[in-house]
Amino acid sequence: MTLKVKYFGLIAELTACEEESIEISATSIAELIQFLSEKYPSLKSKDFQIAQNREIASIETTLTGEEIALLPPFSGG
């Protein structure tokens, strides 16, 4: 499966990238995070949420979507 993965804020700073395509055989968000943590080891110590197709998703969620985002704590307003 090919995923579009977006990074924001502090996370985009760590990955030095705002968006990339990832080809992966993972089926859950947990597996995707595992994969990304290997690619970007500094992710491990960071606090973030995952959105799949623009909705916050828990770690057990099955990967279905084309758009994944790694979101650090929100600080709007």
Partner: protein
């Protein structure tokens, strides 16, 4: 997701006091309104480890944020008897003393606007994927986290 058209709440840079004044003026033809309540978020000169914040640079997951702002708007209209509601959030650089968030609710009666405004602001703070990078006077930065 709702079928109504999703508005873009983001504005590039600070929200000016003239813009806010004009938004108020536009509501003077709506004579069923008896009460307006406005929240303005202003960038504060926070001092962190002896260094002063000079500006915040806002970025957002814009598509998701606009969907969330839309959902917040719909939920608020369901919960409260409002005549209208407007939300604007800055993107890009906002200097200390400038306004980065403008939330405006109007209703026939005051009780509704107080409850609705606080609800909307808290929802925005917790649900909108917006990220603030605080710049210090010495050009270093840190990522802001909402309290």
């Amino acid at each position: 997701m709702n079928e109504k058209k999703i508005k873009n709440v983001f504005k590039e840079g600070a929200i000016s006091s003239e813009f806010i004044g004009q938004a108020i003026a536009k509501h003077q033809s709506k004579t069923t309104i008896g009460a307006h309540n406005i929240f303005l978020g202003q960038v504060r000169t926070d001092e962190i480890n002896g260094k002063k914040v000079s500006a915040i640079m806002y970025t957002a997951y814009e598509d998701m944020a606009n969907e969330k702002f839309h959902d917040i708007r719909e939920a608020t209209f369901k919960k409260f008897n409002l005549t209208c509601m407007h939300i604007y959030h800055s993107l890009g650089q906002v200097n200390t003393g400038e306004i980065c968030l403008f939330v405006f609710v109007s209703s026939p009666h005051r009780k509704e606007v107080f409850e609705a405004l606080e609800y909307v602001v808290e929802e925005i703070k917790s649900k909108a994927p917006v990220f603030g990078k605080e710049f210090f006077e010495d050009d270093t930065h840190q990522w802001k986290v909402n309290q």
